[in-house]
Symmetry: C2
Subunit: 286 residues, 2 copies
């Protein structure tokens, strides 16, 4: 029951946008994929790897005759794109995004778009520390989860179309309220990322001396710190409340461990490390 689109517009042709373009074409979900971006070089690469068929630097012009628009730009640019699209797109067009933070974006759509809402927020949990259209992968979404954060007054057709879209490219859809989504990803992704960057900074303070004592644990643990600074800046700025809350919770946990150590509390420390082990198993569903 896959819907087919005549013209799909993908704004932002990085890893997520480029991979989506490949998947839309490979699975014949879109007749034509039009890539929109700010930099012609990225669009040219996306076209050369087959992720898009056409190039545009103007979202409004590109979306005028589209029946599907997927916003794959950093979170901070999605609200502007929603403003640009509101009075431009055909009445029946389906619009979604892939940003890692949802409450601010969905609230903006609810505040400014006509009802029932044809924009539906999405967050596919796919990708890696790689970025750029040259890493586009037709299988990127295979086996991933996509969180959808529908509004109260959501257009049912749009909701089902977006759900079918993610399922068609291999993702499993889970529905969450936008605020809960943001709280959860603050814990599972944003706080860990900030923490990894801090750990890398604290290790690097010792210059070359630290290298012999860097093991696989440190390497694995700080891998996510290799992500793009501007993406993570925007994530922090569009999920401020949940991240601040997570940072405060982290501060409290670290302070509790500090107290165990300062008090020489062997039993407290052993319980803490047991709880960490057990928590990891639970969080990973093991």
């Amino acid at each position: 029951m896959n819907r087919r689109y005549n013209i799909a517009v993908i704004m932002g042709v990085g890893l997520l946008g480029g991979s989506l373009g490949l998947a839309l074409k490979a699975r014949r979900i879109a007749g034509l994929v039009r890539g929109v971006g700010r930099r012609k070089e990225s669009l040219d690469i996306a076209k050369s790897v087959g992720a898009i068929d056409e190039i545009s630097l103007d979202l409004k012009a590109a979306a005028k005759d589209a029946d599907l628009v997927v916003l794959c730009t950093p979170a901070a640019l999605v609200t502007q794109a929603l403003d640009d699209l509101r009075d431009t797109i055909p009445a029946a067009a389906i619009v979604t995004d892939v940003a890692s933070t949802k409450a601010m974006i969905c609230a903006h759509a609810e505040d400014t778009w006509p009802r029932p809402l044809r924009f539906v927020g999405s967050h596919p949990m796919a990708g890696s520390e790689k970025f750029g259209p040259e890493h586009s992968d037709v299988h990127l979404y295979d086996g991933s989860y996509t969180i959808m954060t529908p509004a109260q007054d959501q257009d049912a057709t749009a909701y089902h179309a977006v759900k079918a879209l993610w399922e068609a490219v291999g993702s499993k859809v889970v529905e969450l309220p936008a605020a809960l989504h943001d709280t959860l990803v603050a814990r599972s992704s944003h706080l860990p990322h900030i923490t990894a960057a801090c750990l890398a900074e604290l290790a690097a303070q010792f210059g070359d001396d630290i290298r012999p004592v860097i093991g696989n644990g440190f390497r694995d643990l700080t891998r996510i710190a290799a992500g793009r600074p501007e993406i993570w800046r925007d994530i922090c700025l569009t999920n401020r409340e949940a991240i601040v809350e997570s940072l405060d919770a982290m501060g409290e946990r670290l302070a509790a461990v500090r107290e165990f150590i300062a008090r020489n509390d062997a039993a407290g420390l052993e319980r803490f490390f047991e709880s960490g082990c057990e928590a990891r198993r639970k969080a990973l569903g093991k």
Copy 2:
């Protein structure tokens, strides 16, 4: 120029001890490897996988005729073992350990053993979250770094013998003062481990809801939280000062990031994430 030992005693036949036994035998560094431990079951497994030739539950008795003793027990048990060995071992016997914390252990040896000191502290940076003699791996030390933390009044023969031992099993030796070693591993290993356990706890607080938003980043980042609680308890208790200092430094960095977010400071956040990226490259020597 490998030295050969007639009787090597390995106390503690977990991953590190078992793998060392296999390597000593495979490379014909020891004629006979005697495993010492508290639990006969572990020793039986170590013997069945070929890591040791003989079994003993009594360190003093086992070490009486040894020319090499390697203490592979958790850090907190090494000082007791040093007491047991001091008046027992032959005068020419070489003694080292593999504990992850060095200052407390080396200070104990310096305070209680005769000079020049025949015990030399070692910390091979090998191993993983696996444990137990059943995971013994003859190649575990291949390509690893071993930090040696010699005392001021070190017996030169003992120092060179221990260095040659680690090199013979495939490790590259780096020398560091014990206190600096402990400070560095607090940053590269102990703080990251504590942090990973806290992150796992904070994610697990949301129960099953968190699972769809758990990605590879979280999985990699918290892998080290799967280590043995009693080992990590002992590491914390034998490296208290450096870990508390690291926890305080971490608290300050997280508080600084919290301020960037609370103040909506885009430039500050971008600099922070850039610095994290750059710091990781530097720490990994890239």
